[in-house]
């Protein structure tokens, strides 16, 4: 029956526009338009204090400044560091965790998975506020809890508590931990879905082959969820390179000691609304976007042919 060609009536010809219309209009106005607007702004100078009359063209001055600005490179370094460390941690924990939950937790699967997913649904503001208390140098629970471990490691009786939020060396790990906590569950669910999709026969075969548990995991299961890993990495790259809220709340919008926690997104926000330089902020936004695009392109060039095939298939 479904081999009959669809009759293109007048109604049919326009129907898809009715269905797609709302999304397309909204996307054009609120996603594409701002993007294009951003390009235009990046070659303009606009001090917001001057109001709309203050916009004028300056060709590539904003980009020239941005590339000379040490703070910009610092923020880029911070962002990449955070994305890399927290991302690596998230995925290298989520994959085996998902596997273990799927294979060995039986009827507790969904309850445990539920607990791991819980952090994802919390408000970043609430959690960052809590983190300010927990990571406090003198009074925070985290330092209290690890104090005995520090004593053992350093071998002395009086060891300095870790300055999580007040030192450049401490604040990056603190943020990485918070981001890890938030997303490890999300990725675990993602991978659980992927592992569950692997047909049981594959595992039976590997039992017969007699390979060990760990090798089964590494050599058989992981390669099979490759598209999911790619998807997960993509989401982490996009999200990680735009990290804004946690550092913003933890450092009260300032970037921390020695600007160690200032991400590109936060620097962009500050450049626009605190330093009154909307043109340069737009240039930064575009640079960030291009960076994400390049990294993703590389990722997919290396690994993506399989994924396109999977996603594009109707």
């Amino acid at each position: 029956m479904n081999t009959q060609p669809q009759i293109l009536t007048a109604e049919n010809r326009a129907t898809h526009w009715v269905f797609l219309g709302p999304f397309l209009i909204l996307a054009l106005v609120f996603i594409v338009l701002p993007m294009l607007f951003s390009v235009v702004l990046s070659v303009m100078v606009w001090d917001p204090i001057d109001g709309f009359a203050g916009i004028h063209y300056v060709s590539l001055e904003n980009y020239r400044f941005m590339f000379q600005d040490k703070w910009f490179w610092v923020s880029l370094y911070n962002t990449i560091w955070l994305a890399l460390i927290s991302g690596l941690a998230q995925h290298s924990v989520a994959i085996p965790l998902a596997y273990a939950i799927c294979r060995w937790l039986g009827r507790y699967q969904q309850a445990v998975a539920g607990l791991f997913f819980l952090p994802y649904i919390t408000s970043t503001v609430a959690i960052s506020i809590l983190a300010t208390a927990l990571f406090s140098t003198d009074y925070g629970l985290i330092n209290q809890a690890i104090a005995p471990i520090l004593h053992v490691i350093s071998g002395t009786d009086s060891s300095q508590p870790i300055q999580w939020l007040d030192s450049p060396q401490g604040i990056k790990p603190a943020i990485a931990i918070i981001v890890f906590w938030r997303f490890v569950g999300f990725n675990t669910i993602l991978y659980m879905a992927a592992f569950q999709a692997i047909p049981k026969e594959i595992f039976e075969v590997s039992y017969v082959d007699g390979i060990g548990s760990f090798r089964r995991f590494l050599m058989v299961a992981v390669p099979m969820i490759f598209p999911a890993i790619l998807f997960g990495l993509t989401m982490s790259i996009i999200g990680g390179l735009q990290l804004f809220e946690e550092p913003f709340i933890l450092t009260n919008g300032k970037g921390g000691a020695s600007h160690a926690a200032m991400t590109v997104a936060m620097y962009m926000y500050r450049t626009a609304f605190e330093f009154n330089d909307i043109g340069t902020a737009s240039a930064m936004a575009w640079f960030n976007f291009l960076l994400i695009a390049i990294i993703l392109t590389l990722l997919y060039a290396i690994a993506g042919k399989r994924l396109i095939k999977n996603l594009g298939a109707t």
Partner: protein, 277 residues
Amino acid sequence: MTPGHRKGYAQTVVGVIIALGALVMAMPFYFLAIFATHSRTEIFSLPPPIWIGDQFWFNLTALLQKLDYFSSAFLSFYVAVLSSVLTVFVSAMSGYAFVYLDFKFKRALFVFVLSLMMLPPFLGMIPTFIIMDGLHWLDEPRALYIPAAASAFGVFLIRQYAINSISRDIIEAARMDGASEWQIFVGIFFPLMMPALSILGLISFIASWNNFSGALVVLRSSSHFTIPLALRSLLSPVNTEWGVIMVGSFLVTLPLVLIYAVFSKKIISGLTATSLK
């Protein structure tokens, strides 16, 4: 030791580790609740509190004095409900089109949608501010829930789910019977897609409720703040009332945790069903 034994031992160890991990995941919520019942000096003292204190009502009263908490909560709720309803409808319609309608440039348009998913939301932050200012939507809730409806992720989710659950045959049969596309959409597609639509609605609700940076840009006066912004306004550069802000943070998180606790099984199973083969 037989292989079976070894596997059992390893399994227990792994199980324990996972259980500890789950505990670590949940601990912050515990402390959020505990801290909400203490005063600022108690929270920042040695040793910090690990059990329920007696300052809950005091903190709550102070919170209500400092903020118009309920109106912010209502506003957050209003925006979140509208966001999720609009997202569900717009995504359902678009998903339907991509799966069951044929038209020129379909593939290109879908790639366009996919690429929108990859767009960093931060890119448009400043132009969004300018556009909202031009539309006179600053400080208006619609500046939040209308753009939220353009969810590329939503379209993607619905499409994947639809492809895997409702075959074209059903749709074709209905067409043969003379039903219009809209009738098919409302009568067949929508009801059958309820699981996926509910999950999308829930995810949208949660995302909207927690949205901070988006709201930061377009909401300007404190009488129009959503909850995350209201909460942040309690963070004084000079003198933060920690007990108060903890109770505020706790109350922000509580509704979602409750909703989640009720629906978590459905959410988890729903998300794992839309697998990426």
